[in-house]
Amino acid sequence: MSNGDNTAGPLLAGRGLVKAYGRTEALRGADVALSAGEILAVTGASGSGKSTLMHCLSGIVRPDAGSVTYAGRQLEGLPEKELSELRRTRFGVVFQFGQLIPELTAVDNVALPLMLAGTDRTESRSTAGEWLERFGVRAQGELRPGEMSGGQAQRAALARALVTGPEVVFADEPTGALDSLASEQVMTALVHTAREAGTAVLLITHDAQVAAYADREVQLRDGVVAPLGVTA
């Protein structure tokens, strides 16, 4: 693991990102870059701006200042529809919980992004089944999220994030609600699949054990990226 930005042709880069919610400044000029196929951990204390940084980089929220570039394209000027399409086709998003639709079965949840892209439902379900297989939860394919364990549901969520073959996966505390065994299973599955597919991963976590899975780690302190081991 090394410290600092990777500046050799980043796939995704945020420069001077500023974002405030009311009077609270979540980001105060954060810089971060992610190369293709790289796994980058963003760590920091609660309230340091980790999730906001992820939201800005993935186009979920627009920064108040600064810029986000993905594959040479500036995201700021893109309309909401194109940002939505970008997240559906080029990005995958995994949260701590809540990303699976509770009423859909696991296989339908994973098939949903493919259906939204216009793939036939039968074919979508078939592909979804294969992805659930990769994450070891095929047997739970016809269960709904509420009927699965936390670890199984999170692996189904990873399958859903990766099913469209994204170039970047954003994972916001993906193991935050899991025990250590389930965390290990989820992280192993994520890292293995990302490496196999050459997918870059932006991993938001406050857990050092989870961060250890990454190629590189940056730390956020009070809304800015601080060198590791240095107090801002």
Binding site: I60, E85, R87, R88, F95, Q99, I101, L116
Partner: protein, 455 residues
């Protein structure tokens, strides 16, 4: 921890006062529903306290002066309580997530499950008291202005209704929570028979029972007593019919939601249809709660339109009427107005229920958009959740209502089939879609990324 009812009441009052914006919506809407219920019941009660036929009431072309037509008006007012009950049922669901957290907090401080249920029931009772008091305060001067010397019985009935509404509200609240056990650690579970969603359907039917009973009592005590034993037949038929149609509506709504959800979930080709169908399959009774009242209004409306068509046709041809034409048409118009009011209340309940379902799922919905699900897909799914199950249900309700009209036509020998009555289910269907669409702006706000920051 043991507390007196007074202490529980104080705590319930403090919790009500400290409610957040979402809960104030629940309080305001529940109080409005309670005020409507009190208003209808007070009017029915005041009319029921008139004994015999020696009154001259200047309203409505003299319809209220005769015991027979008066009992019909009372019956209509009591029937209007049915959509109001549906509305109140939807209102109590607003902010359920917050309520559950509050209950958990109470458990954490040492309250027993029974005390938690009692405090929650008292909260509902206090809210209903607010609505009941407002309606009573408005009704009393109106009554004093239009009636020179209201009888003692009238005042007694008014007082009883004013007290009964909050008491019934608290009882219904306690019944609705009877299987809910809040854990001190913040989760809420339901105990008892594992058929989620059936309870509210049964509760709706249970609440119909006193309405139907009151309708029976009103019809029998205010009708003309000189007609002998046969006078019981009509009220009994109305009583039985109301219960049968109420039970049928709840069952039909739930069954339709389940069947439509199950069939479409398998065949869905679009993401929006799949989401809507799976939601229906997952909890068909949630939709049934709102849709049952819609079906009742549709059956009543279609049936009435058929009967009205035939009656107006008959009035035009009959040259030997006992009363003026306006006497009859006023009665028909009042009935039409009552049904329209019932429809309006029902559509409001549907809108409230749809908005509540969005508020409950807001974080999950925001996560869907964050993951790239287009907003338009979620908008369509929301409308389809209403549109899909209501289409077959309203078709059946429309045919049922038309059968009533056709039956009346056969009995009276009118030889007219009132096809125009079929416009009612179409109008109700469009109204329901518009009511569901009123929740779309809320869905738009819910899909903002800031919702991801809330738990």
């Amino acid at each position: 921890m043991t507390t007196s009812l007074g202490a529980d009441l104080r705590l319930a009052w403090q919790l009500t006062r400290g409610s957040d914006r979402r809960e104030w919506w629940r309080i305001a809407l529940t109080a409005t529903g309670a005020a409507l219920a009190t208003g209808f019941a007070l009017t029915a009660g005041a009319l029921a306290s008139l004994r015999g036929d020696h009154y001259t009431v200047s309203f409505a072309a003299g319809l209220l002066s005769e015991p027979g037509t008066r009992s019909g008006v009372i019956l209509a007012l009591l029937l209007l309580l049915v959509p109001v009950l549906g509305f109140l049922g939807q209102c109590t669901r607003i902010g359920a997530v917050h309520r559950d957290r509050r209950l958990a907090g109470l458990r954490l401080t040492g309250a027993t499950p029974g005390q938690v249920r009692r405090i929650a029931a008292l909260e509902t009772g206090l809210t209903c008291l607010l609505g009941s008091a407002a309606a009573t305060v408005v009704s009393v001067p109106v009554l004093a202005a239009v009636w020179e010397r209201p009888t003692v019985l009238t005042w007694v009935v008014l007082a009883l209704v004013a007290v009964a509404v909050p008491v019934l509200g608290a009882t219904a609240g306690a019944l609705a929570l009877r299987r809910v056990v809040a854990s001190p650690l913040g989760w809420v579970r339901r105990v008892g028979p594992a058929r989620p969603g059936r309870g509210p359907g049964r509760l709706f039917l249970l609440s119909l029972l006193p309405v139907a009973g009151a309708a029976l009592l009103a019809a029998t005590t205010t009708s003309d007593t000189t007609r002998g034993p046969g006078q019981w037949h009509t009220p009994m038929a109305v009583f039985g019919g109301l219960l049968a149609v109420g039970a049928g509506s709840v069952w039909l709504s739930g069954a339709t939601c389940r069947v439509v959800g199950r069939r479409l979930a398998v065949r869905a080709r679009s993401a929006a249809t799949l989401i809507a169908a799976e939601r229906l399959r997952d909890d068909p009774w949630a939709a049934a709660r709102a849709h049952a009242a819609v079906l009742l209004v549709t059956v009543a409306g279609t049936g009435f339109m058929g009967v009205r068509h035939i009656m107006v046709d008959g009035l035009r041809r009959d040259e030997q009427l006992g009363e003026s034409v306006s006497y009859y048409t006023t009665g028909l118009n009042l009935t039409a107005a009552a049904i329209a009011v019932g429809l309006l209340i029902t559509l409001s309940a549907l809108a409230v229920g749809t908005a509540e379902s969005i508020a409950t799922r807001r974080r999950g919905l925001a996560a869907q958009v964050a993951a790239g699900v287009p907003r338009a897909v979620l908008n369509r799914a929301l409308l389809l959740e209403t549109a899909l199950p209501l289409a077959p249900s309203l078709l059946v309700a429309g045919v049922g209502g038309l059968t009533v009209g056709a039956g009346y036509s056969t009995v009276t020998g009118a030889d007219v089939l009132p096809w125009s009555a079929l416009l009612v289910p179409v109008t109700v269907y469009v109204g329901c879609l518009l009511a569901a669409a009123t929740a779309l702006p809320l869905l738009g706000r819910t899909l903002r990324p800031s919702e991801l920051r809330h738990t």
